[in-house]
Amino acid sequence: MIPELGHFAVILALGVALLQAIVPLLGWRRRDARLLSFAGSAAQGQFLCVAAAYASLTYCFVTKDFSVAYVAENDHSQLPLIYRITAVWGAHEGSLLLWVLILSGWTLAVSVFNRRLPLDMSALVLSVLGMVSTGFYLFILLTSSPFTRLVPAPAEGHDLNPILQDPGLAIHPPMLYMGYVGFSVAFAFAIAALITGRLDAAWARWTRPWTTTAWMFLTMGITLGSWWAYKELGWGGWWFWDPVENASFMPWLAGTALIHSLAVTEKRGLLKSWTVLLAILAFSLSLLGTFLVRSGVLVSVHAFASDPSRGMFILAFMAVVVGGALTLYAWRAPKLVTTGELKLFSREGLLLFNNVFLVAACAAVLLGTLYPLALDAMHLGKISVGPPYFNAVFLPMITPLFLLVGLAAVVPWKRGDWRETVRRLRWPAVIAVILGVLLPFALHGRTTLLAATGALLGTWAIFAAAQDVWRRMRAKLEWRAGLRAVPRAVWGMTLAHIGLGIWALGVSGVISFGDEKDVRLARGAETELGGYSFRFQEAGEQSGPNYTAQQGTVLVEHGGRVVATLHPQKRLYPSQGTVLTESSIDAGLMRDLYVSLGEGYDDGSWSLRVYYKPMIRMIWLGGIFMFFGGLLAASDKRYRLARAAERRAIEIAEGAVA
């Protein structure tokens, strides 16, 4: 009964979404405020329907209703409750339901927060979101319903893929989808602007907090994904340049470019057509990611079970949505031309440089990801494009961004002043050069070109960003007052840029000085790595809630002192007959010690993989900084001004009634 209700709720949501797409458009043609304001109610109704559908699938998982095919595939009676709840998005069908839940959540948020927008703008935005939702509901109902029954119902479920039974992965997809889907709002704003032809500073101001919010979730989603892969895949890598990762990284790059070009459009009223194009691109790349992950056109480590009919549907959907948007763009964008001088050495000029490098980097990732497919299509043979290519191409492409980041806060709008710039940045520059040379030696006793460059660029980004806050703090007589006067938007930018610097330190550190070893150790034997000695004590049996494990004990010593006891496991999940290596990590800001278990031998010895990963935590710490930077920027006061005014008006009105 419950799954049928869920299925029905999705059908209902489809109907509401269709109305939400069509009625406001009619209202806009007829200039009918009643039809326009229907969009908001539809958005709320749609959310209720999807929430009901989502709740019923969760109910099926929690109550282990194996008569539902999707539940039987991904649930198990021994699965801990928390993973029964997260298993809802453990495979294709359910994750799609999570996708539409989040999409309708964003739609709901737009309908609530956009009350201060012109009614036609807000209604058109909701209409576009309704169109996007319609496509996804059709996708669910036609190809991927999670509510299909299985007759006869099996006695036991097939279980959630054990590799997904991990807290990192439990929250990674929702975060990622918040980002992917969030870009649909910027997309909808762009389409609404193209339709109405109203694309001004106010439009940019409305769009900015939505974009920033989506971006910060995407940042967090990617960060969590990287952290999960590091700890779960068992060989210490944190980024693989896998097609699926690239699929999430491309919208991030486009979204980052969008955030920066929106600033230009808001402050200077320039670059309108470019900004609109980026808004369309960011969401289009999200859709592209969905296609790549779910269609099976590319071989990937973490793709969903693929199905060409699904691939065909998303492709057709993408063609309609993106094709429609770009056609509208080709038709309307020429009318958005704005005049105004833009100097290369000004904040907007530097932001444009930023856009050039970000978009080029994004295009390079796309090129590398699709190149093998393109060659194959032209019958030029099968090749692989992997991490060595991307590292060689991508790192040089983003290096100029670090130089720009340092200038960001210093160069004013319209016209920069070289002398002032040099005056304010000389200390950060001097510090960066000194640390670039010394830091690798101080931390690791030697240096490489990459390590020095990373330390230089990283500390440059950090200190140049910090000097802006420092200067603002010093501008007031009392430093606390100065600190309080720093707007949240500035805090946000500063934190995000510091995050980028921290990330660079981490990346260059771990690539330059990370080390690893494959060893076979007998009981009591030890091996040396990165100045630590790893002693293999013993291996024994362990059991968890739904697995049994062989667990090794490895004692790590440094300078004669035990610094960590690690327990790498090799788990057998009998439900799927899967064996997983569960690595054991002693984490620290400056270094991780990482051990994973290989094979056991008859003589009691085991093969182990031992890793020394200096500064790897900084990679994710950088991501966390960027997330909070986004949070602060999105909650800046100026986005709330209008709402505060609105609230005052309401208070006055209520006062009059009382």
Partner: protein
């Protein structure tokens, strides 16, 4: 005009993806096609003769089938291989890949032996030289020992009739 460039790029990408949906990204073409069969020297299962090398494959067209008793795809193609061995003139040589003899013999007894000769590649060295990356894989060799075709995955009637037979006809 330049505002239409993104649209053009999109159309190209969609064309690319339509192609992508119809091809299997996992199939890797062999660089050995058109070349002489790689050298090997492997023991035979029945010991008559004791060992065989690539030179022993020459003289008539032959199918070289890498298989193993532990592989599911091999079970799938096995009935068809039996049928081929009965109805076709072409010689079938099996190379048993990383398989224990103790597992293989009962498997053959139970299911039947379609092979004219079985070689055992216990360590998978010959597999590497032939570029095998999963079993079953089947190579088609002409009378001179040149590799004409490679089938990755189970042999099927479609592949036999539409790909392999025409090739064999063309060479004979």
């Amino acid at each position: 005009m330049r505002y239409a460039i993104p649209l053009v790029v999109l159309v190209a990408l969609i064309g690319l993806f339509i192609f992508g949906l119809q091809s299997d990204p996992r199939l890797v073409p062999s660089p050995l096609i058109g070349k002489a069969a790689p050298a090997f020297d492997l023991p035979t299962l029945d010991g008559q003769p004791q060992r065989m090398s690539q030179a022993d494959l020459q003289g008539a067209p032959v199918l070289v089938n890498f298989f193993a008793s532990w592989c599911a795809g091999c079970q799938e193609e096995h009935p068809y291989l039996m049928q081929l061995s009965r109805n076709s003139q072409v010689k079938l040589v099996g190379i048993d890949y990383k398989d224990a003899e103790a597992d293989l013999r009962p498997w053959l007894t139970r299911k039947g032996n379609p092979y004219g000769q079985i070689l055992t590649d216990l360590e998978g060295r010959a597999g590497i030289d032939w570029g095998v990356y999963g079993v079953p894989e089947t190579f088609v060799l002409d009378a001179k020992g040149t590799i004409l075709y490679k089938q990755v995955g189970p042999m099927t009637p479609e592949v036999w009739e539409h790909e392999i037979q025409p090739l064999l006809k063309a060479t004979s």
